[in-house]
């Protein structure tokens, strides 16, 4: 295969060509209530050629990996049609390396997976008041070969595991649900020993049936590490992706490096070089080494996430953040492991002087338009006179990024990473990422409600 790749990369007519070949094996188990509804295996083999001519791209993806030369020819022709200006990608040194997964991937045997999930499902379903459950488990092992016309040739293997458990309670035509998401870079033991958490999950779904809904409006909101991580991802992470910014002059002015976004205790980091997390890797899908990037340091915008193209366009450094979810997509700028760094306050300190506020925990989802973001808590409580008070129905929080980061006025000392999420952008989802934070407090956060 390597010879065919090298040959195809010599095709004439392009400023730059790259080829990516992927093999992937996925196992999936899905439960709905007591029915194990799906047990399936998927095996994939495919690849793509991407060609670059004077600032324009051609991209050809395929399952049949025997015609690399023809695919290269087509990609070059497409790129030539798109060509518009003299422009070079961010320069790199060629890398030749075979990288193996840091941990042994999940075993292929289905029996132990099914046994564990059966146990969790029984815990949920045997809780009185629970109507049904949803469980989705997936694991994958992927081998990627990447090579480009500049001499880089990299093979990487990677394993990923994710699990989502949902308990659904119902009463009098009302339905409430609570979920738990877990993920890892191939380590199955992370999925084990969750019995206690699963029990709590089911009990909370039942408690929600009699919980009141928050009254809509502005509140002082305290986020737990999981939800604050989702907040960091949605509220600021996406805006740090340079492909949103690099071609938009006005946005470049707004996102100028050195601008103050938050108070001096606020540090936000993204980096695939942070080891052992679901967003970790050695090289991105353009063959650029992973880095750890301070997006915000001491409240000030320090850098952003780049591909080779966006880095060159903005005169900044490539950060190794170009990722493609699979061979049928070109790499685009993505987050990896995104988190707010710890500061000094305990949870008690953070809520001590809140007269009336909301304590929002765990995540259900999040989205952003870049300026406006929303993210939803899986669990919420009122805070009254410095104490966590009654349970509320899950809340959706929303804000404007330019105002909200500045409204973070307390940061805890208890950073935790959440590995259960998946990120979506331009039709590529769910991409394995992780995010995290310590507890944080946000003033004047908009909460949807009755």
């Amino acid at each position: 295969m390597r010879n065919e790749i090298t040959d195809a990369l010599k095709s004439p007519g392009a400023d730059y060509i790259e080829i990516r070949i992927e093999e992937n094996k996925i196992t999936r188990l899905v439960y709905r209530g007591k029915r194990l509804e799906e047990v399936g295996r998927t095996s994939s083999l495919g690849g793509n050629v991407r060609a670059f001519v004077k600032g324009g791209w051609g991209f050809v993806s395929f399952n049949d990996t025997h015609n690399l030369k023809d695919s290269a020819k087509l990609a070059i022709k497409e790129a030539q049609l798109t060509a518009k200006e003299d422009f070079s990608l961010f320069p790199t040194e060629p890398i030749v390396e075979v990288v193996t997964a840091p941990k042994k991937g999940p075993s292929l045997s289905l029996a132990p997976k099914k046994q564990l999930l059966d146990e969790y499902n029984d815990i949920i379903l045997s809780t009185p008041g629970i109507r049904t459950s949803n469980i989705g488990y997936g694991d994958s092992q992927k081998k990627t070969t990447f090579a480009n016309s500049e001499g880089t040739y990299i093979e990487q293997t990677r394993a990923d595991i994710n699990l989502r458990l949902t308990a659904i309670a119902g009463k009098n035509g009302e339905v409430q649900q609570v979920g738990l998401s877990i993920g890892s870079l191939g380590d199955f033991s992370v999925m084990e020993g969750l019995q206690g958490q699963v029990k709590q999950l089911a009990q909370r779904a039942i408690a929600l049936l009699s919980a009141p809904q928050a009254k809509g409006g502005e509140y002082t909101v305290v986020l737990d590490p999981i939800l604050a991580g989702v907040f960091a991802h949605e509220a600021f992470g996406h805006l740090s992706e340079a492909d949103h910014v690099y071609e938009n002059q006005k946005l470049r002015e707004i996102m100028v490096l050195g601008r103050r976004f938050g108070n001096k205790h606020l540090n936000i980091v993204d980096g695939a070089a942070v080891p052992g997390l679901r967003g970790s890797y050695k090289y991105d899908d353009e063959g650029i080494p992973a880095t750890k990037t301070y997006l915000i340091r001491e409240g000030i915008l320090e850098s952003r996430l780049h591909s080779r193209e966006t880095a060159a366009k903005m005169g900044e450094k490539a950060t190794g953040n170009a990722r493609a979810i699979n061979y049928s997509f070109p790499p685009i700028v993505r987050m990896t492991n995104t988190y707010i760094e710890s500061n000094s306050l305990s949870f008690g300190d953070i809520i001590a002087d809140i007269k009336e506020g909301i304590y929002a925990r765990d995540w259900y989802g999040g989205t952003t338009s870049l300026e406006m973001f929303t993210f939803s808590a899986g669990e919420a409580y009122m805070i009254r006179n410095g104490k966590v008070a009654e349970l509320l129905r899950p809340v959706v929080l929303s804000g404007n990024v330019f105002a909200t980061l500045g409204n973070i006025d307390a940061i805890g000392n208890d950073l935790e990473m959440n590995q259960g999420g998946g990120c979506g952008k331009r039709g590529q989802m769910p991409l394995p990422v992780s995010n995290g934070s310590p507890h944080i407090r946000i003033n004047r956060c908009l909460v949807g409600g009755s």
Partner: protein, 434 residues
């Protein structure tokens, strides 16, 4: 495919092979300029088999030896779900038009020109808007064979043109956009340009709303972004069977306004969500879900239908896995109210065009809550400006129990929903301003 089926039959009691191939060409524009041309070809083959009453499943994207695929499926069989259904034998399929050979003949150069002209029309109106656009053509071929003699296949062509623009002034971002899709080539995208220009015009002035309950008009795009997800979930036969749908036990019961009807329709000619047969070889059909406010039926695939002892509604859909019930085209009945008349009726209220985050609430319960990405204040019967920093929260069942008016302005949204504007009352609005 035949080879896979014959090898599978040696092991299994029943077997089915599903194959889908596609060739898709997206032309992408970024920052008002042509950026990238793609050509994507893919083939995937799925094998479902039943042995000893249990279902096994395996899928291969790209080439795989038939024997290997059969082994993978065999391996899952012992753990598989109990098969309640049988594969359908030979069927009579109605002709549902989903293919226009003209689509594959559209030249890339013409797609480039379409995108450039669309962007030019927007820029001419508002020079500082920065647009992304995609013009896509595609051909999909589906074939299903099974051990009961079932044999179905069809081709589908599709063409899509979509635009998203962002207009930035100081730190205010305005997002506008829309899309058109069809099984025919789209040559007239003036309506798309006009819709986007109308959004830009309406958003020129800003307004703010107080925090309280108020009447609301959901435009067709507003219906799609705020209301449709909870309904799709609630009418899924699987959600109903699990007891997780609020519409469980509501068949025949009036749950919605008596003027509201909703149906799923896979037979609409040249609609991108149409098909002559679903992904299990069951003929596509029109299924009434809400008839004048009464819950009429749910949507099913083979397995779910068998669990409930009913028939599949031809809604078996695969997304890289086993079939599961999923809608084709959803249609809400067109009403008789003019949009301007609905606006005139409101003293103070909100018009929602795009809501973000609405799917993150407890949609099983019909709850939705989100940020108004594109929405306008209505004051004394007129649209007075764009609102920002505004959240809404509501429940689909409460809102649609009594609808003030149903618009006469039905249109397709995202190629899967045909809906008019809906005028409702009592939506909770929370805003920074009030």
């Amino acid at each position: 495919m035949e080879e896979i089926l014959s090898q599978a039959k040696k092991f299994a009691d029943h077997a089915e092979v599903f194959q889908v191939s596609s060739k898709i060409t997206p032309v992408n524009f970024e920052a008002n300029r042509l950026k990238e041309i793609q050509a994507k070809e893919s083939t995937s083959t799925a094998l479902r088999l039943i042995k000893g009453g249990k279902v096994g499943f395996a899928q291969a994207n790209g080439f795989i030896k038939p024997k290997k695929l059969v082994e993978m499926a065999e391996d899952t069989c012992q753990f598989g779900a109990e098969a309640k259904f049988t594969f359908p034998g030979p069927q009579v399929y109605l002709h549902t038009a989903t293919f226009d050979s003209k689509v594959s003949k559209v030249k890339i150069e013409d797609m480039v020109q379409a995108g450039e002209q669309l962007i030019a029309a927007i820029i001419k109106h508002t020079p500082s808007v920065v647009c992304e656009a995609t013009v896509t053509k595609g051909i999909i071929t589906v074939r299903i064979i099974n051990s009961a003699g079932g044999n179905a296949s069809y081709n589908k062509s599709f063409f899509n043109i979509g635009l998203e623009g962002v207009l930035i002034e100081k730190e205010d971002m305005l997002f506008v956009g829309d899309s058109l899709s069809s099984c025919h080539p789209i040559t007239d995208y003036k309506s798309l340009a006009q819709d986007v220009i109308k959004q830009l015009d309406l958003a020129k002035t800003k307004a703010s709303l107080p925090t309280r309950q108020m009447p609301v008009i959901f435009t067709p795009r507003g219906v799609a972004s705020a209301l449709i997800s909870p309904l799709v979930s609630a009418f899924n036969g699987k959600t109903v069977f699990d007891g997780a749908s609020p519409l469980k036990d509501k068949l025949g019961v009036q749950v919605f306004d008596k003027n509201l009807s909703l149906w799923d329709d896979a037979t609409l000619p040249y609609q991108v969500a149409s098909y002559p047969c679903d992904d299990e070889g069951v003929p596509g059909q029109r299924t009434t879900l809400v008839d004048h406010g009464c819950v009429s039926h749910f949507i099913y695939d083979l397995q779910t239908a068998a669990l409930v002892k009913t028939e599949s509604t031809g809604n078996g859909d695969r997304r890289g896995g086993m079939p599961t019930p999923s809608p084709s085209s959803m249609v809400i009945n067109t009403g008789d109210a003019g949009f301007d008349d609905m606006v005139k009726d409101i003293k103070e209220g909100l018009m929602i065009d795009i809501l973000i985050g609405a799917e993150q609430g407890n949609i099983l319960n019909g709850d939705f809550s989100g940020n108004v990405l594109l929405g306008f204040k209505i004051e004394n019967g007129e649209i007075t400006g764009r609102v920002k920093d505004t959240m809404v929260a509501g429940n689909v069942y409460q809102l649609l129990k009594q609808i003030e008016a149903i618009g006469s302005d039905a249109r397709w949204v995202e190629g899967f929903l045909f809906t008019p504007s809906l005028y409702c009352t009592g939506l909770s609005v929370a805003s920074k301003a009030g």
